[in-house]
Amino acid sequence: MMRVKLDDALLLQVEKPAKYIGNEWNMVKKNPESVAVRFAFAFPDDYEIGMSHMGMKILYHILNKREDTYCERVFAPWVDMERLMRGKGLPLYTLETYTPISEFDIIGFTLQYEMSYTNILNMLDLGGVPVLAKDREKSHPFVCAGGPCAVNPEPLADFIDFFVIGEGEEVIQEIIDGYKAWKASGQDRTAFLERVAAIEGVYVPSLYEVLYYEDGTIMDIMPKSGNVPDTVRRRIVADLDKASFPDDIIVPYVETVHDRIMLELFRGCIRGCRFCQAGFIYRPVRERSPEKLNELARSSVRKTGYDEISLVSLSSSDYSALPEFCEKLLEFSEKERVNLSLPSLRVDNFSLGLMERASKVRKSGLTFAPEAGTQRLRDVINKGITDEDLKASVQLAVAGGWNSVKLYFMIGLPTETMEDVEGIADLGFSLIESCRGIADRHGGRGLNITLSTSNFVPKPFTPFQWEPMDHISVLTEKQYHLKDLIRKRTRRIRYQYHDPKISHMEAVLSRGDRRLGKVIHTAWKLGARFDGWDEHFSFERWRRAFEENGLDPAFYANRKRDFSEVMPWDHIDIGVSKGFLVRECKKAYEGDLTRNCANGCSNCGASVYKTGICLAKEKNNSQEVDKWPGH
C-alpha cells in the first residue's frame, strides 16, 4: 500500500492547506489491510463545498458501519494544489489514509451539479485511473456515480462504469455485497458489471446501445443483451426513520459552506413547481418523525460540538409536525446555546417568531423565492404564491425588525415576455413602497432588497424538459434591461445575476446524450475544470470542444423537443410518469395550476413506491383536480 507523503514544500505553498490533511474530528480510522472493500467517496468540487454535502455524510456513515468496508473521502484539489501535485508527480489521495485513489476497489462520485463533470475526469486522471471506462482493466477501481444529476447519466456514460439512480442508503449495501461475491469469484470486470446491472437502481451504460436518427435525435436506447433491464427504476428509502442518519459527522477544520449540523426533515416536496427538478425526482414526500429528529439533534451536538443546526428540506413549512417539533427543539437549543437556521420556511407570524427565538445572531437576511415577477408566469410554473402573500410576508418581516430581504427569481422561463421580466423590478419597487413607514414606526432602518435572478435551465424529468432554453443573448438582454430599470429608480434594490454562458453549458450537459462524452473529454483536455466557478470557466474552451467534435450546443440547449421524441434519459424511470409531465407541460401553457400532494393526488405516478404521502393520501384520493386555495 502506498501512502502519499505530504510536506511543507507542498502544503505551505497552497491556500488553506488544512483542506488536504484529513484527521478531522469524527473521521473514521480503520486498518485498510483488514477490510474487504475500500470505497473512495469522491466529491468533484472543492473540500469546502463537498464537506457541506449531506449525501456524503450519510453514505460515509453507512459504509463505515460495515466492518468489511472502509469508506474514505476525496475532493477535487483546488487549482494551486493540483498544479503542485502534478509538478511533483503526486497522485490524488484520500484524506483518511493518504492512499492514491487508484488503489481502491470502488470510486464513487456524487453528481450534484453538471458543471463539475470535468472535475471528475481531472480527479481520475490525477489519481492515475484511466479516464475512459473502456480503458480500465482488472487492476483498476470501478468508477460509479450517483446523486441528482445521475437521473440523466448519458453525458458521463464514457467515464462511469455504473450509475446508481436515486437514494443510496440501501442499494450501496447490495453493491458492496455484489462486489465481494464478484471478487471471490475471480471473474472479469464485465461479469461484475452484469452482476450489478441486475440490482434495481443500478445502470451500466456499457450494456446499452443508443441508436440515433440522422438529425441527431434518438431512435432507441436498448440493452445489448436479454439479461439487462429495459428501464432502470430509481431507488428510494421507504421509511426515513429506519434509514441510518449520522449524528457523528466529521467536523472540518476549515470553514465550509454549510458548516453546521444538518437535520433532514423530509425528502421530496409536495409542491410540484414545474421548473424544479428536485420537486419531481425525490417523490414521494417522506417525513422523518419529530422524535427521531429531536434525538438526532441532541446526539449530533454532543458528538460534534457544533453550535448550529440547520433544518434541511425542500420546503420546511410543509413539515407536518413543524410547530410541535420546533417547540421541542428550541427547548434544547436555547439551553445548549445552539443556533437554529431555518432555510426554506415560508414567512408568516409563526416562522418569524420561530426565527426570532431560533437564532441569537443579528436579524440579517430573509429570503423569498417568488421565482417569477408576474402572477401569470407564476401560474405557468405552478408557484402558488401571490403578490399579496409576498407583500404581507415582507411587511411582517420589516415590522419584526428585519431590514434586508433577498428575492430569488428566474429569467428565461417558458412563455416569459419582457413584461414578466419587468414584473421582477416592479415587485421590488412595490415592496419598498409598501414597507415605507413600517420600519420607522418600529424604529428600524428602511427596507433593502436584493433581487437575484438565475437563468432558467430546463431539466430532465420536469414538465419543462421539452422546452428550449433562452439564448445567451436573450438572457443578457433581459439582465441588462432589469439592471437598467432598477438603477434608474432606486438605490434600495441591489440586483444580482448569473453568467448566462455557464447556465447555457449547464443546460447542454443536463439534457445531453452520450455523444457529449467526447465534448466533455475534449474540454477537459483543453484545460476545463471547476467550470461552475466564474474565474475558471471558459466558454471559448467549450465552444472549441463542440467544434472539434462536430456537435452543436444549441441542439441540446435551445431546441424545442416534440413530446414524441425519445429523450436520452427515457430508459431511466424515476417513478413520475412521462404522461404526467406531458399533462403538466400542457397545463403550464394554459396557466393552469395543479394542487399540491397534501391537498390531493394528481396521479404523478410516484405512488408506485407505495410509501410516504402517497399512502397517507390514498384513502381520500379524489380524481378531480382542484386549484390552489386562494385562487
Binding site: L12, W25, Y253, T304, D307
Partner: protein, 234 residues
C-alpha cells in the same frame, strides 16, 4: 478548584497546517463536546470566555501555547485537562493548567517567544561560517524590512525586536536557529520575517524548514517570566 484556568497546549506536525481561526473554532467545538461548564459572554451573540496568548501561523508547531478560560462554576485543573483532551483531535492536546485567581488577559501579557527555526544552507558552509554570519547580522543596529500590519506594509527596524539568536548544528544535514523574539499584541516579530531579513541582509539564500515555538513569556519587573508564574501576580 477555580472559576478560571490558564492552560498550556501543544500543536504538532499533524495539525500545523491549521490557520489561527481554525484553531479557535477547534477549541470552541471541543469545549462544547466536552460538556465542561464554560462561561459565555452576555449579549446578543454569546461567545465562550476563552482568550489565547498568541495567534499561530500556518505551518507553526508549538509546545507552549497558552490560553485563559472562564467557567460558570468551579473546576479542578486535572478534570479540565482530562475531559478536554478526550475530545481534542490528535495533534492538539492540553499539557497543563493552573487556577487563575485574578483577571488579566494572557493576550496582553505575552511579550516574547522562543523559536527553533530549521534551515538549510545553499552551499557547503561549516558551522563557524554560518555562526559568524548570524553574529554579524546581530551587529547591525538597523535591520529595516517591510512589515505587514493592519494598515498595509511599512518599513520597520526589527533589530530591537530580536533579543537573541544562536545557531546549532544537530546531527542531521541542516541547522537550527534558536531565536528569542519580541512577541505579542504590540511588537510581534514573526520568525518567517526574521528569516527573510536574514536572507536580505546577508545575501544568503537560506531555505527555511519547520518552525517550532518552544516558549512564550510575559515580562514583569524587567524579567522574563513563564505565563504560569505570573498568572496570579499582583
Amino acid at each position: 478548584m477555580a472559576r478560571a484556568l490558564r492552560f498550556r497546549f501543544f500543536r504538532d506536525e499533524r495539525l500545523k497546517y491549521l490557520a489561527h481561526l481554525d484553531v479557535l473554532r477547534l477549541f470552541e467545538r471541543a469545549l462544547k463536546r466536552s460538556g465542561l461548564p464554560v462561561a459565555y459572554t452576555q449579549g446578543f451573540n454569546p461567545r465562550q470566555k476563552i482568550v489565547f496568548g498568541l495567534p499561530m501561523a500556518v505551518g507553526l508547531t508549538s509546545s507552549a501555547e497558552y490560553a485563559d478560560i472562564e467557567f460558570a462554576g468551579d473546576l479542578a485543573p486535572e478534570a479540565f485537562i482530562s475531559r478536554l483532551n478526550q475530545v481534542l483531535p490528535d495533534g492538539i492536546k492540553v499539557l497543563d493548567a493552573m487556577p487563575l485567581l485574578k483577571k488579566g488577559s494572557i493576550m496582553s501579557q505575552i511579550t516574547s517567544a522562543k523559536y527553533e527555526i530549521e534551515f538549510a544552507v545553499p552551499r557547503h558552509m561549516d558551522y563557524d561560517e554560518i555562526n559568524g554570519i548570524v553574529i554579524d547580522f546581530l551587529g547591525n543596529e538597523d535591520i529595516t524590512v517591510m512589515k505587514k500590519g493592519k494598515k498595509g506594509s511599512k518599513p520597520v527596524n526589527i533589530r530591537p525586536l530580536i533579543y537573541s539568536l544562536s545557531v546549532r548544528k544537530p546531527d542531521n544535514d541542516g541547522y537550527i536557529l534558536d531565536a528569542f523574539l519580541s512577541a505579542g499584541a504590540k511588537n510581534n516579530l514573526r520568525p518567517d520575517l526574521l528569516m527573510k531579513a536574514l536572507n536580505l541582509i546577508t545575501g544568503l539564500d537560506l531555505a527555511v524548514g519547520s518552525i517550532h515555538r518552544k516558549a512564550m513569556y510575559t515580562s514583569a519587573f524587567n524579567e522574563w517570566k513563564d505565563p504560569f508564574e505570573v498568572a496570579n501576580d499582583d
